[in-house]
């Protein structure tokens, strides 16, 4: 399965009055990590992906977070992201926030590959992941 890592600094504005990260900020970081993982798979940025494939996004259906050790402003962390399941029209990604060699936080998300409903453009429906892309998610090509 494909994986990707990125480094980032926990910012002052990511943190709450307790001086530690305000946990919803982790999900914003995980969301971008997913985009970067899919960019690593596809070779194109998210706006280019929308042009390349006829689809409407990959919204999160369920997510789980586990916060083990707090991170603080000024902390340099790595986010390691990997596909853990690639289904027909959905996939699962696990994100790990690594601080000083230890897992500080973990996220697990299930996302659906969606298209606009042809009968009602305001609605979205799950749709098979393009096969070439699914193969790359699985690390097969």
């Amino acid at each position: 399965m494909l994986s990707n890592s990125r480094s980032l600094r926990i910012e002052w504005g990511d943190c709450d009055p307790a001086g530690i990260i305000f946990y919803p900020r982790y999900f914003a970081m995980f969301d971008h990590s997913t985009s970067m993982l899919i960019e690593a798979a596809s070779g194109v940025t998210k706006p280019e992906l929308f042009k390349k494939y006829d689809f409407a996004g990959y919204p999160v259906v369920t997510t789980q977070g586990k916060f083990i050790t707090p991170t603080r402003f000024g902390d340099d962390v790595e986010i390691h992201s990997a596909f853990t399941r690639v289904g027909r029209s959905s996939f699962e990604i696990r994100h790990q926030v690594i601080k000083a060699g230890m897992i500080a936080a973990e996220g697990l998300e299930t996302r659906a590959w969606v298209k606009r409903d042809p009968d009602d453009k305001s609605k979205i429906r799950s749709h098979p992941i393009p096969e070439d892309l699914a193969a790359r998610f699985r690390g097969e090509s």
Copy 2:
């Protein structure tokens, strides 16, 4: 000129490790206050406004913020918003954050009324504000 007020609570997640509001959050509050002021003018919510008028938004062109007294999580404040200038294709709004009867912060923003460029849909261009709406912004009807 039309004005509008709304009450809100400064949240834990709005605040930084100093225990005071992280000032970019004020601009997010001001942005929603502008939407609420325009809703007061038009009688419809922002998505309905897009349906009613053929336009692409009212992006901020310039903004100024002045932070006089810090607000803290748990503080109940009022945001008082008023049009201060309504031009042909742009308008100015002043926001005041009132805490315990005093102005704690102030924002001044200039926004443009824009449409998609017919020659290049990825671009936007300023466009005259619909006259019925401009009249309401000015408090004339």
Copy 3:
């Protein structure tokens, strides 16, 4: 078990280029809903709670989110929050986002009641929830 509801408007700035809520914003909303639920239990705001009880916060240990129907800017929703478990030094809260009578999203969070570690003030340790407060969380008083 104690429960509490609050109404809110999904804002333009809560939404992403797909026009639907950027899901990390739900967790920010859930965090404030938890504070409001605890305020309903204790009768005091969060800063007053810190003064009343000698503790360092109630950080999230694990959380789950389930996003059933997207919400969009302009949507008026209710967030219904309820304690689902009150333990010795941790508790569980379930948040439901109700849109037009239907559950649009759901969050489940486990939080720990913590104090500063007396041996190392930079660290926090879980600590028994004050008994009068735990009773109110359970809806017993």
Copy 4:
């Protein structure tokens, strides 16, 4: 005067339903750019700065933003930040967001160097910037 640049990607979650950056996000970026500029001046991260100098922060007093060309998710930008004035107890920083060689947005902020009020620890007061640090802000050492 000291200056510093950093590169960043405009993220999906930074953008609004118009597909362009939600402008309060710029101020969050500027805030971190200021921290990075001060880190470049001092050689230490923000938490270490608090340990090194006896002070309570450098809150924004006034800010101005000018949004010239919208940035979109997937855009790679540079933020160039420079001191433009270093006073006795306040300083001014200008941030420029560079996209494809052009200034897409600009921010100008005045910040105060503050300490806790010895008579009332809940209050802050402006205080002279430590001279060694002010000299580095000015690019003199």
